[in-house]
C-alpha cells in the first residue's frame, strides 16, 4: 500500500517536471515570438498552424526528412548488426583477447569528437566520401559502434551460457547460435541499444554540418539550422522544428517498447 502511494506521488511529480518544459516547446510552436515572451508558459491565444506551414514548406524539408530517415535507419541497422556480432564475440571469446577487443571498441566513447574531426575530414575527403549519404552512414556507424558494443556486450555476458552451449552441442556453428539463440534472447537490450542509437544518430549535427554541402543531402537537424541566425533566433519556428523532428523518434520508441515484453520471457529461461 505504502509502495503504491509513494509510486503514485513520485510518478506524478516527475511527470509534471517532464511535461512543463515540453509544454513550453509544444505550445510555443503555435505562438508568435512576442506572445512567447509575454506568456511563455500559457496556452497559445489561438491555434495557428502558420509556423508549421512555414517550416514544412521550407524548401527541402521533405527531402531532408527522407535523408534523415534513410541515413538513420541504415546506420542503426548496420551498427546493430556489426555491433552485436562483435559484442557476442567479446562475450564469448575467453581470456584476454575478448577483453581486449571489447575495451578497444568501447574506448571510442571517451574520445572527444573535436579531436578526430580534422583527421577524419581529411580522410573522408581523400576517399571521396564527403557530401555523401554513404559517408554519413559510415561515420554514424563508427560513432555508434562503441555505444552498441558497450551496451550489448554488457548484457550478452549475462546470457545463460547453457543456452548456447546446448546449441553448439547440437552441432550448430557460431553463426547459427548467434542468429537463432543469442539474438532472440537479447531483444530487450537490442531494443534499448536501438533506441540509444536512434537518438544519437537522428539528432547528430556535428558530422552532417562538417561533411554535407548540397541541399539535396542535408538531414533534418541541418535543415532546421536554417531557422537559426547569428543575431536572430525565431524561437517559435525553432520549437516547431523541434516538434516535427522529434515525432518520428517518439513513434520509434513506442514501436520498440513492444520488445521489452519479450524481455520477461527471455529472463525466465534462467530460472
Amino acid at each position: 500500500m505504502r509502495f503504491n502511494l509513494t509510486r503514485g506521488v513520485v510518478l506524478t511529480i516527475y511527470a509534471v517536471i517532464i511535461l512543463v518544459p515540453l509544454a513550453v516547446v509544444f505550445f510555443g510552436s503555435f505562438k508568435t515570438t512576442p506572445e512567447l515572451f509575454d506568456s511563455p508558459f500559457g496556452l497559445p491565444s489561438s491555434i495557428s498552424f502558420d509556423n508549421y506551414d512555414t517550416v514544412l514548406n521550407e524548401q527541402n524539408l521533405s527531402q531532408a526528412f527522407l535523408n534523415s530517415v534513410l541515413v538513420t535507419c541504415s546506420s542503426v541497422a548496420l551498427t546493430l548488426f556489426i555491433g552485436s556480432l562483435a559484442a557476442y564475440a567479446t562475450a564469448r571469446i575467453p581470456g584476454w583477447p575478448g577483453w581486449l577487443i571489447f575495451g578497444f571498441l568501447v574506448l571510442g566513447m571517451t574520445v572527444p569528437a573535436q579531436a578526430n574531426m580534422i583527421p577524419q575530414y581529411a580522410l573522408f575527403n581523400q576517399l571521396g566520401l564527403l557530401d555523401s549519404r554513404i559517408g554519413l552512414v559510415i561515420i554514424n556507424v563508427v560513432v555508434g559502434l562503441p555505444v552498441a558494443v558497450f551496451i550489448l556486450g554488457g548484457f550478452m555476458k549475462t546470457l545463460p551460457r547453457e543456452a548456447y552451449e546446448a546449441s553448439s552441442l547440437d552441432g550448430a556453428g557460431p553463426l547459427r547460435t548467434y542468429w537463432s539463440i543469442v539474438l532472440p534472447m537479447s531483444k530487450p537490450s537490442l531494443a534499448a541499444t536501438a533506441i540509444f542509437l536512434f537518438v544519437i544518430q537522428w539528432n547528430d549535427l556535428l558530422y552532417p554540418l562538417l561533411f554535407i554541402s548540397s541541399d539535396s543531402k542535408k538531414t533534418i537537424p541541418l535543415a532546421l539550422l536554417d531557422f537559426q541566425g547569428q543575431f536572430l533566433t525565431d524561437y517559435p519556428l525553432l520549437f516547431t522544428g523541434v516538434v516535427i523532428a522529434s515525432l518520428p523518434m517518439a513513434i520509434t520508441y513506442v514501436l520498440l517498447q513492444r520488445y521489452f515484453v519479450a524481455g520477461i520471457t527471455a529472463g525466465a529461461v534462467k530460472g
Binding site: T33, P34, F37, D38, Q114, M117, I118, P119, Y121, A122, L123, N125, Q126, L127, L130, D131, L209, L210, S213, S214, D215, L225, D226, F227, Q228, G229, Q230, F231, L232, T233, D234, Y235
Partner: protein
C-alpha cells in the same frame, strides 16, 4: 617535423581503396595526414594571380554564416543568374559558432566556398595564414569600396579580403524613452550618461538591457568602455602582447566604471541571455539595448515600433573624448585559392560590390555596408546613417587573436557587474592572460 609531401597522395588513395575493400586498412590510413586533405596551396599566401576574365559558369558556392540573410541573398543571386545564365549560386550556411570552428577546413578542401567570408580578428588572420584568400590587390572590384573602410581586409599591405558589413557595436536606444527624460542627443560624457540612466530609473524603467549571461554578446559593451580610457588605440593587441595588463590603471578605471553601471542594468543581468535582453528592449521596458546595430532587425521582429538611435557610453569628460562610438567592419569576402571556379567567384564578388546589389542587401538585411555609394532607404538605416561620418573607433575587442585572452578580459567586466571588486577581477584576468602569454 614536417608535413608529408603531396606527391604520393594519388597512390595512397588507390592503396587505401584496395585495402578498404579487403577490410584491412589499418596501416595505410595512418599516412593520411590532415594537411594532405586540403586542396589549394597551403602555407603560401595565395600566390597565383586571379583569372580576372575567365568564363562565368557552373555552380558557385558562397559559404557564410548569415542564415537570416539567406532569402535576400537568394533573390539577389537569381538576378546574377539572369545576367550569367550558365552560372548558379548556392549558399553554404553554417551557424556562426560552427563557422568559426569548421569553415577553414571545409573551405580549404575546395568542396565549398568558392566565395567565402571571415570574421574580423582571429579567423581572418588564420585564413590568410592558411593561404585561403586569393590576392585581390589591383582588381577593379576593390575600387567599389570606401578605401577608408577596407583596411581590415589587408595583411602586410596586400588586399586579401573585402569586409562587407559595417556595424556599430554600441548601445541601441529607444528614442521615445530618451526623449521622455529629456535626452535628445547621445550623452557627450560620462556624467551625462550616468545622469541619463538615473532619469530612466526615476521613470520606472530599466536604463540598460545587457546580455551579461553570454560573454560573446556582453563583450560588445567592452568596446565603448575602453575606447576613451585606453592610452592607445591598439590597447587589446597590447594586452595580448603583454605590453598592457588588466591591472593597469586605465583598465582598473574601466572596471570601476562597470561597477558604477551596476544599478542601471536589468536585475540579475549576469544571468540574462541575449534574447530576453532584446525582448526587454523591444517591449519598451528598457531605454538601451547594450549590444549593437546588428540587433535592430531582431528587435523590429519582436514588434518594436518606436524610433531607434544609438547612445554609446563615453567614459570621460567631453574634452578628453577621442571617440564617440564604435564601428566594426566584418564579413570579409574573399575568393578561395582552392576553388576551381575562381572566375565565377570573382564575378560574384563584383556583383555583390555593385551599388545596386549592395543597396538591396543593405536595406534587405538592415546593415550598413562598406561599399561606396549605397543608398539607405530602410528607415532604421537612414536614421542611424549619421554614425557613418562620426568619429568612431574600429571595435578593439577583435584585436584579440587569442580567444582565451579576450574572454579573460571581458569576463573580468562581467565579474565586476556581478559584484567582484575591480582589483580582484583584474588580478584574476591577468593571471590567466599571463599564463597564455607565457605559453
Amino acid at each position: 617535423m614536417n608535413q608529408k609531401s603531396h606527391g604520393t597522395m594519388y597512390t595512397r588513395r588507390r592503396i587505401l581503396q584496395m585495402f578498404a575493400a579487403s577490410g584491412l586498412v589499418a596501416v595505410p590510413a595512418a599516412c593520411a595526414g590532415p594537411g594532405s586533405g586540403g586542396g589549394g596551396d597551403q602555407g603560401g599566401g595565395g600566390g597565383e594571380a586571379l583569372p580576372t576574365d575567365g568564363p562565368v559558369e557552373g555552380e558557385i558556392s558562397f559559404a557564410h554564416w548569415r542564415a537570416e540573410d539567406q532569402a535576400v541573398l537568394e533573390k539577389m543571386f537569381a538576378r546574377f543568374s539572369e545576367e550569367y545564365p550558365d552560372a548558379s549560386v548556392s549558399q553554404d550556411i553554417s551557424p556562426s559558432n560552427d563557422y568559426q570552428s569548421n569553415a577553414l577546413q571545409r573551405i580549404r578542401s575546395g568542396n565549398v566556398g568558392d566565395l567565402f567570408v571571415a570574421f574580423r580578428g582571429a579567423q581572418f588572420v588564420d585564413m590568410v595564414d592558411a593561404g585561403l584568400y586569393a590576392d585581390l590587390s589591383g582588381t577593379d572590384v576593390v575600387e567599389r569600396y570606401d578605401p577608408a573602410l577596407i583596411d581590415v581586409g589587408q595583411s602586410d599591405g596586400t588586399q586579401y579580403g573585402l569586409p562587407y558589413q559595417l556595424v556599430f557595436n554600441q548601445p541601441v536606444s529607444n528614442l521615445d524613452i530618451l526623449e521622455s527624460v529629456g535626452v535628445t542627443e547621445p550623452p557627450p560624457d560620462w556624467d551625462s550618461f550616468l545622469a541619463m540612466c538615473e532619469d530612466v530609473v526615476a521613470a520606472g524603467l530599466v536604463p540598460m538591457a545587457w546580455p551579461g549571461g553570454e560573454i560573446g554578446n556582453a563583450g560588445h559593451l567592452f568596446n565603448c568602455m575602453v575606447m576613451n580610457n585606453a592610452p592607445s588605440d591598439d590597447m587589446c593587441a597590447k594586452i595580448e602582447s603583454g605590453e598592457y595588463a588588466c591591472t593597469d590603471d586605465w583598465f582598473l578605471t574601466t572596471l570601476a566604471q562597470y561597477a558604477e553601471l551596476r544599478p542601471y542594468f536589468q536585475p540579475n543581468a549576469t544571468g540574462t541571455a541575449v534574447e530576453p535582453a532584446q525582448q526587454l528592449f523591444a517591449q519598451g521596458d528598457a531605454a538601451l539595448l547594450v549590444t549593437g546595430s546588428f540587433h535592430i532587425t531582431a528587435v523590429r521582429e519582436l514588434g518594436a515600433q518606436f524610433p531607434v538611435g544609438m547612445a554609446p557610453p563615453v567614459t570621460v569628460s567631453a574634452d578628453e573624448r577621442k571617440y564617440v562610438g564604435i564601428r566594426n567592419a566584418t564579413f570579409i569576402l574573399g575568393v578561395n585559392t582552392a576553388s576551381d571556379n575562381q572566375a565565377g567567384a570573382l564575378e560574384l564578388l563584383r556583383f555583390l560590390s555593385e551599388t545596386e546589389a549592395a543597396s538591396t542587401y543593405a536595406n534587405g538585411t538592415v546593415q550598413h555596408l562598406t561599399v561606396a555609394d549605397v543608398t539607405y532607404d530602410n528607415e532604421d538605416l537612414a536614421a542611424t546613417s549619421d554614425w557613418l561620418s562620426k568619429e568612431t573607433l574600429l571595435a578593439p575587442r577583435f584585436q584579440f587573436t587569442d580567444l582565451d585572452i579576450r574572454n579573460a578580459a571581458e569576463q573580468a567586466c562581467i565579474d565586476v557587474v556581478g559584484g567582484d571588486s575591480p582589483e580582484q577581477a583584474a588580478e584574476k584576468a591577468q593571471g590567466i592572460i599571463d599564463q597564455r602569454i607565457g605559453s
